[in-house]
Symmetry: C4
Subunit: 323 residues, 4 copies
Amino acid sequence: MNYRRLGRSGLKVSELSFGSWVTYANQMDTGAALDCMAAAWDAGVNFFDNAEVYANGKSETIMGEALKKLAWPRVKYVVSTKFFWGIVEGPNTKNTLNRKYLMDAIDGSLARLQLDFVDLVYCHRPDPNTPMEEVVWAMHDMIERGKALYWGTSEWSASEIMAAHNVAEKHHLRRPVVEQPEYNLFHRKRVEVEYQHLYKDVGMGLTTWSPLASGLLTGKYKAGVPEGSRGAMPRMAFLLEKLTDKARNAAVMQLEGVAKDLGCSMAQLAIAWCLKNPHVSTVITGASRVSQVQENMKAADVVAKLDEAAMKRIEAIAGGLAE
Amino acid sequence: MNYRRLGRSGLKVSELSFGSWVTYANQMDTGAALDCMAAAWDAGVNFFDNAEVYANGKSETIMGEALKKLAWPRVKYVVSTKFFWGIVEGPNTKNTLNRKYLMDAIDGSLARLQLDFVDLVYCHRPDPNTPMEEVVWAMHDMIERGKALYWGTSEWSASEIMAAHNVAEKHHLRRPVVEQPEYNLFHRKRVEVEYQHLYKDVGMGLTTWSPLASGLLTGKYKAGVPEGSRGAMPRMAFLLEKLTDKARNAAVMQLEGVAKDLGCSMAQLAIAWCLKNPHVSTVITGASRVSQVQENMKAADVVAKLDEAAMKRIEAIAGGLAE
Amino acid sequence: MNYRRLGRSGLKVSELSFGSWVTYANQMDTGAALDCMAAAWDAGVNFFDNAEVYANGKSETIMGEALKKLAWPRVKYVVSTKFFWGIVEGPNTKNTLNRKYLMDAIDGSLARLQLDFVDLVYCHRPDPNTPMEEVVWAMHDMIERGKALYWGTSEWSASEIMAAHNVAEKHHLRRPVVEQPEYNLFHRKRVEVEYQHLYKDVGMGLTTWSPLASGLLTGKYKAGVPEGSRGAMPRMAFLLEKLTDKARNAAVMQLEGVAKDLGCSMAQLAIAWCLKNPHVSTVITGASRVSQVQENMKAADVVAKLDEAAMKRIEAIAGGLAE
Amino acid sequence: MNYRRLGRSGLKVSELSFGSWVTYANQMDTGAALDCMAAAWDAGVNFFDNAEVYANGKSETIMGEALKKLAWPRVKYVVSTKFFWGIVEGPNTKNTLNRKYLMDAIDGSLARLQLDFVDLVYCHRPDPNTPMEEVVWAMHDMIERGKALYWGTSEWSASEIMAAHNVAEKHHLRRPVVEQPEYNLFHRKRVEVEYQHLYKDVGMGLTTWSPLASGLLTGKYKAGVPEGSRGAMPRMAFLLEKLTDKARNAAVMQLEGVAKDLGCSMAQLAIAWCLKNPHVSTVITGASRVSQVQENMKAADVVAKLDEAAMKRIEAIAGGLAE
């Protein structure tokens, strides 16, 4: 496993990391989570991604239990959480980054994770209804109080990220060091175009999510929505249209030829493709079985096979279909 | 119940809130306070206003007891307190915002409220004998030390509020986000004229008090001062002249016609009128009986009835009598 | 007793205050100290001055014991301490304001005083061997950590005080608010000339010491050094020349005429004269007996008798003899 | 023993100090360490140098045990530690100054040293892979949280040190006050040339290491590498080439004449020579036996004997051989 700097920061994360979105609590209990985390750890993963909203807090509870049992030295692993949607009902706790919510949320997450601090804390989405100064002060305070080491954003626009840097610079507060965007063969513009100047100007790192485009890139949806798949879950209905897009599923079928020629799975191809982007610090992968973790981790070995010719072939197939 | 942002801050408060001035301890014990707070909560109220000086600390003690029994999740409600008059005799504890008093006062209030922090802490009045830098540092420190989330002012001039912002901006300290002024049909100039530029320039929110002009707007003083009313209390003597003003009581009688036509009580009309001002974040209401709370809360429904014609009619009656 | 603002700060101190230099531990035990403090308190004194070096820490220990027994509300009294000379031998603990010494010293003083914080903490002398930035950061940190409320200096030059303000202003640290200089009829130039612009420019307050010029102004040394007096103590030998100065002792004899005409003691005259200066926030008085405390406190009543004519008469006698 | 200011800071260190590199744990147990430290203390040493990496943490453990038994007043001695190499395996804990490592490392060191704080904390080497802002914030935070009093660097370039000052100045963070470079007769350029402007511009102090050039200056390697010497240890192999350099060993033989004429040992000569440089705050000496400590400490007396003539003679012998 290679380790990459999280942007310009001094923190190094394994280029493949392990996230708990979708899977924890919904599909996995603590035992399964522990087994998957142990498998990822054995493969060299040091970054474990989480969020308050994943399974409504249960994903943090499960990861906390697993971490306690795994008993790795705290300094050796990196844990994240993210705040925005809230898990308590009310006007100040849903879709917000106000100070009241954030200060309450971090304590809740740390309790569930059974940790003194998280390494990374993210603003899970931008909040147009809280001033940037209030958000940056709150994130700064989490670091000041020792509850987090670094902070970042997720799915913020380049302009919003720069606004956060401006407030931090002006008032001598901690800057965000990382953004967590969706990034895969069908979702590229934000990472490749919109954020372009941020890598140089503020040294932003990327922890990217959805390398498989919610499973679409594995070919799972070629023949419609399989029973038991994510596309079939009612709470994932918002994904359905994209998962069953004809042009994209056709491209997926062509990509299977590339994967076959490279001797790898579609998942490995899709993950390795993300890693070809040097601005990506780590690709967050998900899995509900140990074998799937091990399979995903082999994607790191595929990167070397993605030479110029292979990349051109992929671009010809999928380049025109990306957002 | 609607929720409004506290000015430009990310905090949302119910447009009607519940205050303990006058009533707690003086007219109510913990049981009555708890019942009224529960009724307000049931109607959607999330902001409960208090101050150190109300009933000389007992108002905080009673609210603390009630909150403990109500056991709402801390993140769901907003509690305030305010400092200026002090409840200990002495040169450093009366009519002051000096650091020594403020640092001592916040600890006393939190102990009485049985809370780790208040959401809002106000400077209850301006103090010309303490430099603005000392005041802003002390308020900032309450936030830094986790004893408050936001701070504001009460009955400060626009110029004093701007001075606080200037100190905060210069030394990178937390800014005030809210002002608590008197606001009602007979007391409008500060909110509508003096503060006008602050809403845009610094995004100040308003938590307004005395929507009923100490009861005058309910018509209670049309025929003189009733026994047992606020106007009859010796410690409220300073209100007497205003409460028995003839022109105003004549206007009140005309407003009763408006209220009748709108199918609402005078209290509801007066409260709803405050809410028509978009700069008002919340109107603080008081009550000593559950039925009164429920009655007040219906004011929110009256706002929609206050169309342009109704507002013009009210303006014609009372507009010329306002300070 | 009148209370004066400590310069531009919001803190108010009794215009006469009570200090423990010379007397505590050397001449007084806890019981005597307690009695004197109680007498001062009864006369309206709210400021009790101390320093680490007074009686090598024992003065703080005695005051701590006395305060514990007196059990006044903490918010009602103001306690100071001062650091520079150190009470532990060594290169980092004597005649210094380095961070290591200061951070250690404040903890020692608070332990001896049995207090969570002092209201005022002074740099007892300037230290040319520690950079101003290090000193101001350390004093700021005492306030940040809640170990002191305000800080000041003692016997610093105007230029050193301004240097401290410059560092504080530049790095957004707490400014000093008070200076403790010697001030009496024979020692005036620093307070009246050197500091002149600081009162307006930075709003500095003054807590002055030695109103009786080490006893000289009481007439005690007119006929040489009495046995048992301060001038006769070996550790006070440095005072001897001044105490026996002929011209000054001659002036003292003339001042006795003024005191007689005003119907007051020499001590009262000398103390009241200090209070005529509006830049003086408080005159620190010392005493080893309750009767002496009570006698000193009556100086406040003498101020009104010091009209223009009396002041001119005093100036004619002593004006030319002052440093 | 003389004490020198640590650059422009207010901290004073004994001009000879005692370090634990190489010796502790590797050659000494707690008892021997305690005896040597006691001997150094008796000779006036107040600074004891350490680092996390020395003997992989065991050097701190041994010093902690010794300090506990010696029970000197905490304010009287100065202890350092240093971070960079880390003692836990992993991408974030080796050769780094990232925030995650530093925040973890200081807690580990304090636990091993059984101290609440170290006086000096050093960045043991520069880290090109962590931004200066992240490093300076972390060092600042150690001081803010009371875990260290001052911070510095070791073997940083002048340009890196200035970069740290720039970040500190811009964001109002604590500046580094000291650099720990190698300095001896054969290793001079950094201290004498590269750092020259830093002494005046930022007031940097120096705690220098390797006064004996790893033993070379004692003459130990004149006839090859003796068994049991540092040059013979496998983990010190990187020193071997320099230790057996012919020209230098020849110079050493000539220097023995100088030492003889001055009536001192070679070690004393080499140490005293370092102290002639006024920018040196303290020379860190090492020893594994009490007699060696006592011998080293006498170097302070040799300084006076190093007059202009002696210095010229030394320069003529060794000046051309220095890096």
